[in-house]
Structure formats: C-alpha cells, structure tokens
Amino acid sequence: MNLEFTEEQVMLQDALNKYLEKEYSFEQRQKLSRNGVGYSEENWQNFADMGLLGVPFDEQYGGFGFGATGLIVVMEAIGKGLVVEPYLASVVLGGQLIQQAGSEVQKEALIPQLIAGELKLAFAYVERNSRFNLADVAFKAEKEGDGFRLSGKKSVVFNAETADKIIVSARTAGDQTSKEGISLFIVDKGAVGLSSRDYETVDGLRASELDFDGVIVGADALIGSLNEAYPVIESVIDFASAAICAESVGVITQLREKTVEYLKTRKQFGQPIGAFQVLQHRTVDMFMVEEQMRSLAYLAAIRVTDGTAEERLKSVSAAKVYLGDARPIVGEQSAQLHGGIGVTDELDVAHYVKRLTMLNVLFGDRDHHMQRFCQS
C-alpha cells in the first residue's frame, strides 16, 4: 500500500504549477475563455512541450504511462487554474477512447500526434433525451458500402469547434437504450454533412451541437469492435469522471483558500468577518469536504486504474455523489461568504463556483451516481 506520488509526478506538478502561476492569471483566463475559440493554441503547444499531453498514455506510444493516478496532479492544477484548454476533451476522453479501444494501427497513428499537440479530439455522446444514460443512443450508423453512414444529432460536445476529429457513439444494432449494439466512430471535423452550432458554456468553456446529416466514413473509422462499445464508453467516462473529481479538488482548494483569505481581510462590525464563529465553522466544513473529496478522488483514480468493474463503479460514483455535496457546502457557501461581490462577473470566485457546479453535472449528477452506487 502506498499513497504517495512518484518523484516524476511531483516534478511534473511543480513545473505545471509554475507555468500556470506565470501565464494563467484569472484575467488571462477570462480573455482566453472569451476569445472566440475558448483557449490558447500557444498554451496548448507549451503543454505538449512540457509532456503534459502524454501523462496518461502508455509508454510504447510516447506517453508517461502514469495512468489515472498520475493524472491527478495535472487535473488538480487544471482545477486550481480554471484552465480552459481542451485537456479533458482531447487527452482524457478522446485519448482514452483510442488507448482503450483503438486498434494497434489507430493507436500508432493517433496517440503520438495527440501527445505532440498536433491532433485534437472531441467525444460526442450526449443526446437530447439521453440525460446521463450512456446506453441511450438514438444516433444511427448504417452500413454503406465498406463503410458507414452516420445520421443524427449530438449535444453539448465540448471543444468540438476546434477539434480535428470527433469520436461519436452510434447505434448499430438493438433498441435505443440497449447496452448491446453501440459502436464508436472517428470522423474528421470537416467531413461532408457534419455541421455544428458552437457556443459558450456557463462555466466559460466552449461546446457544440453537432448534426450528422448522412456523413459517410470508411471501415477504418470504427474504433473497437462493432456493437460492443458500451463497456469501453462506460470505462472511459469513469476514467474521465475520476479526472474531473481531481479537477474539482483543485477548484475546491482554491475556493476554500480564497474564502478564508477574504474572511481575514473583509472587515464588518469593526473586525474581520473571520472572527464570526458561524463563518469559521462554514470554512471548516469546506475544509472537511476538501479533504474527504480529495480522498475519494484519489480512491476513484486508483480504482479506475486497477480495480474490478464493481470497485470502479462504486468509487467513481461515491466521488461524484460527494462532489454533489460540495456544491452547496463549498460552492454556494463561497459565494455567500463573499457577499455581494461573490455574485459578480468580475471576481474569480464566481467562476470557480460555476466550474464546481458544472463539474457536478458533467458525466452525471448526484442523483444519477447515487442510483448507480446503490445498484452496483
């Protein structure tokens, strides 16, 4: 049993934190978030140069082979910095789909490009009525010659706007909610018949509604086995859920620190408001949630790496349920304790609160994961 990061991981963490301190003030982040594409290509290349994009990939494809536990250090820093670059969309979601289900040919072709920052991916899996059920896929892929014809819509696809390729889940057999008969395809963003409606998200990222109007792809666009993609999707979403739980730890840490700092400086009734016991205990509640959330995020990362399917499900859902508790205790209370300025666009705190809240929704909210926890 060993719960420490490796020396290499600690070094990477230091380098990343240093970079973000220098290049990623809140004002810079807001500019990037609102610059039209939602991030900086320069940062992305610097991430690639630091080796950041290779963290979770196997060493044989040029990655660090750190797995999900190694990813914690990156994701915590991303949370702390409110980083808007498409790390989750491209490296975590896109990358893991290729890593876990891709053929040898696909891995060799795509992963080194991903790691080098030359290829960006996005994963399209949400549909209008699917809510959090990954098996609810109405989007169709039908045989067309050697290849397939893709038809349907996907919703809230993060960073699809700037992705080079989209990986999409499609129904190739079975009923709309059957776990059997789902397949994954990789499609060029510029493919004929693929249109998108791009927008800002409430937490400062970019996402798109995608419309596939009979997009033709070759047989080599299939990732993994036909009809058998569900377990891969579930596993990758669990992997990404563990990653965003680590991101949330970064967000929570910032909110707790910023709130404590504010309580020390803001004066009312002739004293810092941190002198009020009720507010002190609220920050203690934040601290306890932070520590417990960190524990569950670590546990989830460990279990998506080496656990059984049941351990993976249970630990990921436990962490996501707890993240749901963090919404009121850390998110809402951070805003409350900052008073009026806590709900202004100008202050970073409001944006950390937004991200924390939306991380709660991403990959299934508290109710969804509570149900999954109880059923597993």
């Binding site: 949400v126 927008y199 409430v202 009734f269 408001i273 805003a335 409350q336 009026g340 937004k354 909210d365």
Partner: protein, 398 residues
C-alpha cells in the same frame, strides 16, 4: 380556525381574477412566464394600469390612496397576481420610500412625492449599501455636509438595483460623526440627474446588468430633501428594512416557480421515465413544497395576528430566511432538471425578439445562470446570517 374564504372574500377573489384577466397585458404575461428580462417600460406600463384601478399600493392607508384591504384581501391579491404571472411592482417607491414618507416625512414631502410614486412617474432607487458596509450597514461612510440650504454629498453606493433607470435615490448618509455608528446617519432624497452623480454598471455572475455602483461627487441636495430628523436616519433605515424583508419572501412567486419546475421535470426524460416520476427528484421537489406550505401558513398566521392588531415582530426575519431558502432551492432544482442543458449559455435568450431555436428544453436556456445569480437573495436585504443574529437577539433574548 378556518381556511375557507368568507362569501365576501370569495367575491373579492373573483373580482381580482377577472380584473387581471382583462387588464394584465398578454405580452407581459408571456415575458414573465418565459423569464425574459423585463424593461423599465414594462414595469411602468403595468403599474400605471394598477394605479388606474386603485390597486397599485395595497399596503398604503386609504387616506394616501390605498384600497383599504384587509390582510386576507392583500393575501388574495398577491396570490392571484402570482397565479396570473404578473410582474411584481417595483418596491423602491411603493413599498419602501412611501411608507417612510407617510411615517417620517413632512406634509410637503408627501404631497410632492407620493402621487408620482403612485402613478409611476418617478423611478426611485435605494442608496443603502456601500462597498465597505454590507452586512454592517451602520458603518456607512458617504458624507453629507450642510452648506447653507444644501447638503453636499460625497461617497459611493453599491448594489443599486436599477440605478441606471432611476430618476431619484433615497439614501442613507452620514451627517455627523458620533460615538455610536448608528448615530449621525440621515435619510436624504437626491436627484440621479444632478451633477456629480455617476452610475457604473456591475455585471453579475449571470452576465446581466441590473445593479450598479453609484458615485456621488459633491452632489448638491436641498435641505428640504431630508426625511425626518437629521442624524436619526437609522430609525428610518430599520423601519424600511422590515418592510423590505417581508416583501422578499415572495410565496406566490415560489409557488409559480414550483409549477414551472414540475412542468420541466415532467418533460425531461431519464431512462424512459420523466424526472417527475423519479423518486429522488420528486422528493426534492416535495421538500420545497412542504417548506413553502409551512411558510404560506406562517405568513397567514402573521397576517391573522396583524389583523388583531399585533405587530409582526421578528417574523419578518423568518420570512426572509425561509423565503429565500425556498427560492434558491427551486433555482437549484430547475438547473438540475436540465441536466447537460445547463451548460449552453445564450445571453440573447433573455432579449425580446430572440427567435433562434433553444439548445435543449425550450425554457431551460437560462436556468443555470439564474441559479448562480439567485445566490444574491440570501445576501441582499440583510444577509441570512444577519437575520439569524436578529432572531437570536429578539426572539430568543440571547
């Protein structure tokens, strides 16, 4: 004990209902039900209709133009307005300043201001909070120095709702420095068009512009714009805050929002069932419904006491805390109901005439920003922590 309306109360209910049906403009109803941002002219339009009917100021005594309703009639009126998706009248003039003028103003002031308020001819805003005095309102620092027949006002006010619409502001200012910070505060009315007044927008977390910071730089205010006694504005401030807090509870609005939530949750599907059929989600709605049921009955009990001549006491703090907790809980569930569709952020949706297709459920586009913005309700009007301090002191004698 009897919750049934008397025949007279029933008749009044029908009267209100048919008036609203006939006179409440369809366009406004649409805007309110869809959550589209309301403009100044919307408020003025509706208030003028109500004024014409004699119903714009249910809380005013008859001699000032109030309708002379019993507490139960006021409750019925609020209830019917909520059901009809009426926009709420703007409180600053009608609910806040007017009672102050009636209680503390001179006859000249009442004559000069009340009918403009009644007829929505002058838009008022409130100058209470300052950047360095939020919960600790009495620590305010805006100074008013008497020079001849004017006060010269310097300082800054913040969180000024609709400051950019306003013609006039009523403000708390410091006219002298005393040992106790509650002393030496005065209540002034000033002109927002006067030289030295600057209004800077504050953009809130939902991207909207509703509140402002107002800078007061050597603003000249005639001494006759002082309300009450110089240096004793704190008494007026407290009087006004109690009125505000009761206004904040908004039981009928919350009932309407729960309806909206149930409609949305009834349409959103999860594993083939609607969210409303999901035990967990349904129970969360029920918890709010039950709290609101209790709150409505508590309001009625207070009304009943007031009819019998008893003062509402610290009940206004309870109404404020529970009322805003309920409101916030509803915004959270509305957001939760939308699932992934909380992400798309289209500010344009709140503008009139926006005709693009929504992403996700039609009414869902602004629910996440609304949730974030509504955090303010447990902060404004005296934060809920302050309300609990007040209750601890007054109700419990601690």
């Amino acid at each position: 004990m009897d919750l049934n309306y008397t025949p007279e109360e029933k008749a009044f209910q029908l009267e209100v209902r048919s008036f609203l049906k006939e006179s409440y403009p369809k366009e406004l109803q649409d805007k309110v039900s869809k959550g589209i941002a309301l403009k100044k002219e919307d408020y003025v339009r509706w208030q003028k209709i109500l004024a014409k009917q004699g119903w714009v100021a249910p809380g005013w005594p008859e001699k000032f133009g109030g309708p002379g309703w019993s507490p139960v009639q006021k409750y019925i009126f609020d209830e019917e307005c909520g059901t009809a998706n009426c926009l709420r009248t703007v409180a600053f003039g009608l609910v806040m300043l007017a009672p102050v003028l009636m209680e503390f103003g001179t006859d000249e002031q009442r004559e000069k201001y009340l009918s403009d308020i009644y007829n929505s001819d002058v838009w008022w805003c409130q100058g209470y909070s300052e950047p360095n005095s939020g919960s600790d309102l009495a620590s305010l620092q805006t100074r008013a120095e008497k020079q001849g027949d004017h006060y010269i006002v310097n300082g800054s006010k913040t969180w000024t709702t609709h400051g950019h619409y306003a013609d006039k502001m009523f403000a708390l200012v410091r006219t002298s420095k005393e040992d106790r910070k509650q002393k030496g505060i005065s209540f002034l009315m000033l002109d927002m068009k006067a030289p030295g007044v600057t209004v800077d927008p504050i953009i809130t977390v939902d991207g909207m512009h509703v509140v402002n910071q107002v800078f007061l730089d050597n603003v000249k205010v005639p001494v006759e714009n002082l309300v009450g006694v110089e240096g004793e504005g704190w008494t007026i401030a407290k009087y006004l805050l109690q009125h505000e807090r009761t206004y904040i509870a908004q039981v009928p609005r919350s009932k309407k929002q729960i309806e909206r939530l149930k409609v949305l949750a009834g349409k959103e599907l999860h594993n083939g069932k609607s969210l409303l059929e999901d035990d967990r989600f349904r129970a969360k709605i029920a918890e709010i419904e039950i709290e609101l049921l209790a709150l409505e009955m508590t309001s009625l009990r207070i009304l009943s006491k007031m009819s019998a001549g008893q003062p509402p006491g610290s009940a206004s703090s309870l109404l404020k805390v529970k009322g805003t907790e309920v409101q916030q809980a509803i915004t959270a569930l509305l957001m939760e109901a939308t699932g992934y569709y909380g992400f798309p952020y289209f500010k344009e949706v709140l503008k009139e005439g926006w005709n693009e297709e929504a992403v996700g459920p039609e009414e869902a586009t602004f629910l996440a920003p609304h949730y974030f913005d509504w955090r303010k309700s447990s902060i404004y009007g005296g934060s809920n922590e302050i309300q609990k301090n007040i209750m601890a002191k007054a109700v419990l004698g601690l």
